[in-house]
């Protein structure tokens, strides 16, 4: 695209820096890394995951928050150094009602099923029948949603904020937000460590299967 520009600006695919044929190879490679990290962190076990809600294992919170912190800080630095254009990064559009209800349902599904979609794939990979059933449930749930969509449509699109960023809503800059987020994350890590230490004394260590 640009003969003169020496540094390659990201994101690569939206800027047409990568021939479209490589899309799916990249997707597969990223997926493999994603799956490996999830499984190696212990997300293939539903009892590991739900430990976060009962205080005996906070691995989900740790992995999740650390990942968000690292990615956030990285994005801001990369944006500053001109390696990536933050404006071109996809921002999930916000539909408050729909998202709140959806997240409540997901929370309920999470505590019942013990997986989320990504982790259930890794559960299948190591031979968990419950993970397979969970994925089947996902399929059914999405099917159900699609069939009911005409009735839900106005709700689905209601109360939209568009592609609202945290900056738009709270009025604090991304840099400040990520700093606050880091502080919150560290406090959460420390508090959950204290909780975990106490809970583990009372809860029998569970057997991994």
């Amino acid at each position: 695209m640009d003969l003169i520009n020496t540094t390659i600006m990201g994101p690569l695919i939206p800027l047409g820096q990568i021939a479209s044929g490589w899309d799916f190879v990249i997707a597969l490679l990223i997926g493999i890394a994603f799956g490996f990290i999830l499984e190696a962190s212990g997300f293939s076990s539903s009892r590991n995951i739900t430990g976060v809600f009962y205080g005996y294992n906070f691995v989900v919170l740790r992995v999740f928050l650390t990942a968000v912190v690292v990615a956030m800080i990285g994005l801001l630095y990369f944006n500053y150094m001109g390696w990536i254009d933050l404006n071109l990064i996809y921002v999930v559009p916000t539909y408050i009602n729909s998202m709140v209800i959806g997240s409540v349902l997901m929370g309920l599904g999470f505590i019942l099923g013990g997986f989320c979609p990504g982790t259930s794939y890794t559960g299948i990979a190591i031979g968990k029948i419950d993970a397979m059933v969970f994925t089947g449930g996902l399929f059914l749930g999405i099917f159900l949603f699609s069939e009911l969509f005409p009735a839900l449509e106005s709700f689905y699109y209601g109360d939209s904020l568009g592609s609202a960023t945290i900056e738009d809503v709270f009025g604090i800059s991304n840099e400040k937000f990520s700093f606050i987020f880091v502080i919150i994350a560290i406090i959460v890590f420390y508090v959950t460590w204290l909780i975990e230490k106490r809970v583990r004394k009372t809860v029998n260590p569970y057997k991994f299967e």
Partner: protein
């Protein structure tokens, strides 16, 4: 064993790599290679001034060698250049105008008091690159009015060319009001001013190039 009793060696390694990437990125962050020397306001002034153009008749002295501090650069593509160009001119295609070697040379020429005259097919062709050079601080760069087209017409007697002001662009060829305004509107409006065409007076040949 509890999590915080484990040694997070790998975590430290991974995070250190991340930090190293960021630090290296920040250190090597050198901003854009080129910086504007003129503010946008100064650029507008420069454009409004219409300074920095060379009249075709001035070219006669340059070509005759009376003025020897002028380097002529042809910014058309190599094909057009090979088909004909102003004698003693060098060819630099538009893409190469800002490459490192060229900029170094321009800087040297500026320091040595040389003037660089760029021309394209027309003045308009050269005016963009000329503006960029000027904004980058190369105030010794000038653009040839009329461009190669005009030179081609008058190359045998450039000195007499001020009889033909075809090299003047940026002016109205028509009285638009007479020619093109809406008839119905025209009736309501009787006052009419002739469009002022600002002509540059012929000046005496520039001394010393720039």
């Amino acid at each position: 064993m509890h999590i915080h009793e484990l040694n997070p060696k790998k975590t430290i390694i991974a995070l250190s790599l991340f930090v190293i990437v960021i630090v290296v990125g920040l250190i090597t962050l050198s901003g854009p290679r080129l910086k504007y020397e003129l503010t946008p306001e100064q650029t507008i002034e420069l454009v409004a001034w219409e300074d920095g153009y060379v009249f075709p008749y001035e070219l006669e002295d340059i070509l005759a060698g009376t003025v020897d501090t002028v380097i002529i650069m042809d910014i058309r593509n190599t094909f057009d250049y090979s088909r004909g160009h102003i004698p003693s001119s060098e060819n630099i295609s538009t893409v190469g105008l800002l490459n490192e070697d060229n900029l170094k040379r321009l800087k040297k020429l500026k320091e040595d008091g040389f003037c660089v005259l760029i021309y394209g097919e027309t003045l308009q062709h050269a005016v963009g690159p000329w503006m960029v050079y000027r904004q980058l601080g190369f105030d010794n760069v000038k653009a040839l009015m009329g461009g190669y087209e005009y030179y081609e017409l008058w190359k045998d007697n450039l000195g007499d060319s001020y009889a033909d002001d075809g090299y003047l662009i940026g002016t109205a060829d028509f009285d638009y009001y007479d020619v093109a305004s809406n008839v119905t509107m025209q009736e309501n409006d009787n006052e009419k001013q002739p469009i002022k065409v600002v002509r540059k007076k012929k000046s005496t040949v520039v001394e010393g190039g720039c």
